[in-house]
């Protein structure tokens, strides 16, 4: 998770309050669950600890000392550039479904098939939800649109692969009983 890097990218635009960070995060990354304030402030604390941002006095709101404003440091800018420049890793999925499939010959296959069918239907519904969210985005929200598109492509791939799984597991069941 690169919440801290996305935050650094926002601080690179301008100094910001914590609540501004949360609002911008939610606008940029429409597809994810909204960031809660607890995550915002714990991430800010880590960025401060690591010297990637500093807290400064807000000259326009000197009387409101409870409002804290943050600014990116030179180290923060370097860290941001390093993050942007790095090639990303592709990770194999070590998820729950992979373990179920690995065990497909030694577990209840009817139950497995039924859970895969239900999972696949859920993915199609998720894809439909994302397609409609993407349609509602403004032209300025190009980043959010690309993130949604990536997830739509991932869903398409998973949905088609799950159909293949269902066909192969059904064929296996027929072979075992013939």
């Amino acid at each position: 998770m690169s919440v801290k890097h996305l935050m650094l990218a926002m601080f690179a635009q301008r100094d910001m309050y914590g609540y501004e960070i949360k609002n911008m995060y939610d606008t940029l990354l429409v597809v994810n669950e909204n960031l809660n304030f607890g995550q915002v402030y714990s991430t800010l604390a880590r960025l401060l600890r690591d010297g990637l941002i500093i807290q400064i006095q807000d000259s326009e709101n000197e009387t409101q000392d409870e409002k804290k404003i943050y600014r990116i440091t030179k180290n923060g800018s370097d860290e941001l550039l390093h993050w942007v420049s790095q090639a990303d890793n592709w990770n194999a999925y070590p998820d729950n479904l992979s373990y179920k499939l690995a065990a497909c010959r030694i577990i209840d296959r009817d139950a497995l098939l039924s859970s895969i069918e239900a999972y696949r239907v859920g993915l199609v519904q998720k894809m439909s939800e994302l397609t409609k969210t993407q349609q509602r985005l403004s032209d300025e929200q190009v980043g959010a649109s690309l993130v949604i598109e990536r997830n739509i492509f991932r869903l398409e791939s998973d949905i088609n692969w799950l159909a293949l799984c269902i066909d192969k597991l059904n064929a296996q069941v027929e072979n075992d009983y013939s």
Binding site: M127, T131, I152, I159
Partner: protein, 234 residues
């Protein structure tokens, strides 16, 4: 609006074959006015046959098809023709525009089967083209248009008689991904703003995901039917 009960379609045995070929083996579907439905499935699963039956382009061999509560099997040829011209508008994968006619003349074609006076054909067809933002293409011939423009002209032709239902068979099948999105946006707008019932057939889950209700077919039966609206029932 549309109710299918145990709908069946079996083609007679082909030459050299011993047994008839069942394509639809008991389809149960209910489609309400204003629904946006996608029928998904692999090639040969029966989805296009189902669409053709829905549009009264083909007959069924068993079960019941009720259109506005009336059994379609009991329709005479005149009633079927009326359903095809008044109730349904058709959009096909290959556009099916007449190459020798301009866009305007292609869009005017279905009006011959309407009650609209001939003197109003141009006005009605142009207004339909305008509603889709392609009035500027009216004097062009299909060969001068891009794939996306041809499909939008075909959608205009499907809309010109103000049908209740648009039936679209792989409407983006011959288009690139971005143009396909434009066509889907057009269909979504017709559903949302003009309250058209849309029934589309596709093998592409990304295209199906624009719909609110998804019907997935396998081997002539409905394998899954579900709503894409949160908490919605099929």
């Amino acid at each position: 609006m549309i109710t299918l009960e145990n709908l069946q379609k079996t083609y007679p045995a082909a030459h050299g074959e011993n047994s008839p070929a069942p394509v639809l083996r008991g389809v149960l579907v209910n489609i309400e006015k204003g629904d946006f439905v996608a029928i998904m499935g692999k090639s040969g699963c029966g989805k296009s046959t189902l669409l053709n039956i829905l549009g009264c382009l083909d007959d069924y061999t068993g079960g019941r098809y009720l259109l506005y509560g009336k059994e379609v099997a009991a329709f005479n040829s005149k009633q079927k023709a009326r359903a095809r011209s008044k109730t349904f508008g058709f959009v096909f994968q290959s556009f099916h525009l007449l190459a020798s006619e301009t866009v305007l003349d292609n869009v005017k074609l279905p009006l011959r089967y309407s009650d609209i006076p001939k003197k109003d054909y141009d006005k009605v067809a142009l207004s339909t083209l305008e509603s889709l933002g392609i009035a500027h293409l009216s004097s062009k011939y299909p060969s001068a248009l891009s794939g996306g423009e041809q499909q939008r002209a075909a959608i205009a032709r499907a809309l010109v008689n103000s049908p209740d239902v648009i039936l679209a068979d792989e409407p983006t099948g011959n288009l690139d991904s971005d143009t396909g999105k434009l066509i889907m946006k057009t269909l979504t707008r017709l559903h949302e703003e003009a309250a058209k019932t849309i029934i589309l057939v596709t093998h592409d889950v990304k295209i199906a995901s624009y719909a609110d209700k998804l019907i997935e077919m396998r081997d002539g039966v409905i394998a899954n039917c579900f709503s894409c609206k949160k908490g919605g029932e099929c």
